[in-house]
Symmetry: C2
Amino acid sequence: SLAAPALAQSNPKINWRMTSSFPKSIDSIFNTSVEMTKRIREASDGNFDIQVFAAGEIVPGLEALDAASNGTVELCHTAPYYYVGKNPAYAFGTAVPFGLNARQENAWFYQGDGMTLLNDFFKKEANVYAMPAGNTGAQMGGWYRKEIKSVDDLKGLKMRIAGLAGQVMEKLGVVPQQIAAGDIYSALEQGTLDAVEFVGPYDDQKLGFYKVAKYYYYPAFWEGGAALHTMVNLDKWNDLPDQYKTLLKTASSAANSEMLATYDYRNPPALKKLVSDGAVLRPMSNDILNAAFDAAQGIYDDLCAKNADFKKLYDSMTDFRNEAFLWEQVAQYGFDHFMMIKQREGALKVKG
Amino acid sequence: SLAAPALAQSNPKINWRMTSSFPKSIDSIFNTSVEMTKRIREASDGNFDIQVFAAGEIVPGLEALDAASNGTVELCHTAPYYYVGKNPAYAFGTAVPFGLNARQENAWFYQGDGMTLLNDFFKKEANVYAMPAGNTGAQMGGWYRKEIKSVDDLKGLKMRIAGLAGQVMEKLGVVPQQIAAGDIYSALEQGTLDAVEFVGPYDDQKLGFYKVAKYYYYPAFWEGGAALHTMVNLDKWNDLPDQYKTLLKTASSAANSEMLATYDYRNPPALKKLVSDGAVLRPMSNDILNAAFDAAQGIYDDLCAKNADFKKLYDSMTDFRNEAFLWEQVAQYGFDHFMMIKQREGALKVKG
């Protein structure tokens, strides 16, 4: 017999399974995991082979982390804030109300303490290792059957909204609802539900909510940027050859860049289509935003007082947030604001 | 003798040289190329080995593309707009005055026609294949010895500014200067130079310009985002095994995400330090921005009329630009604007 040549050991054959929290219909996110694993396969000449499963194929979407944590699968592609029921500190992996925008999240994750603190937390809580792997950018504030002009209009509003955002809305008088995705449309139509928050124009347009709840509010103050992560069972991660660790990290980071680009490219025409179909765009009033900001602060004060994990992540995020939004007022806002004025003037359409 | 086992062919040993347009002192950019090639080396178990050279080590910084084009090196890490002297259409690879911001550039590059059109152009002009590999975000508008309140204050101003930005400024009365980087400080001190544009707070603070030209204007209307690329000699690219093509693409895309994060993390404290050291922050007046916008439009009209490469890229960019800045006014601006107000109120500092 002939022993395997030493060279072969540098590119060992490894088959993994990744479960996604997203169905195939949320294609901007689901295809990100498909493309990410395709690259890993190609770059390893087929040897590091990760098969992707959509939500529900082998694991329910909201149990993706559990499956990676307990080793049912080696890894998942998910939004950590789905797991705030286990510990509210998970939210910092995706978004918290009045937190960071997408670029700031990346800065805090990669260059600040973000991923170091999050991975300490994820290790302790779930025995997983996480890498940022996608962002939606700022999301929309949802679909409402009636106009919401002030905090008073929120009182008693039955809204499908979860997590910390749901807690903030509850403080403003909203009654957060749990309802299966497939039942939202008919609940809005029948009036047993008054409002729903989803993602942004590209994903929202597929669901037709504008027909039954035409007021489309912005922004989602709870998602200035919403980050996804590749989360790997820590024992599997530790056993992975170094070259595949680097490959998975690099492919996750590339996915992070390109998923945001996908949303940024697809949302503008989707928004125009929604408005032409009858959606009525409305900004959240300052009255509501300020009341929500104060309500969020109250929730943060409570959580920091009783949850050391939350406090550590909150303090780190907050330190950077203040600096980041100071700097943002200078060069980037200076440029973008002028360009938005020109857009309104119709001056950006001029072709050669 | 023993023939090499077939397995080894899947990970062939390849040694390449990458020349950077940047010195080691511009570390946010130079280290991006170091990190990118380190990952490629690790992910190929040392077999795809790209050695990075700083500007001037083997090739002058502004000749990096030429070196990749003629095969002196296999690839370079550079900003395509350095080559507008060859053809102004190169500018679309990095930034054009009143063009796209960093996120919009990524959307146009990856999801729109951006990279397809650019690579058609790069192939024809320089026999290279390019992949986005870094972005600075919006840059600052430069350092000025005197306040520049209106277009009149620009008349006769000797400013170190190049490319299309220099042409726009020239239309406003500025006299663009060519001057070696090492001579800028003394020229400003002696008054033979009135102003200089560089990058942003993190890079600018190293050069001490605030001591001799304290007015620090924002934004650089010519760089809403400035993209770098990995540019590979096309013959070398075509000969590269598919697995290494995927690896180089993936590592470039990861670099694209993480370089912007580096600037976004480092610029805020650098700006604060500059201001505490005596830099005087000033916004470009609407008078100047509007005059520059009109001047840029005149230049674009001329270029589109006589340069088919430019027109093709300009029209594609412009189509997306109008849609992108419409969408940006909705969710992202809605979120960021509220957060900037809270920053000014001091409300973002609250810790747990």
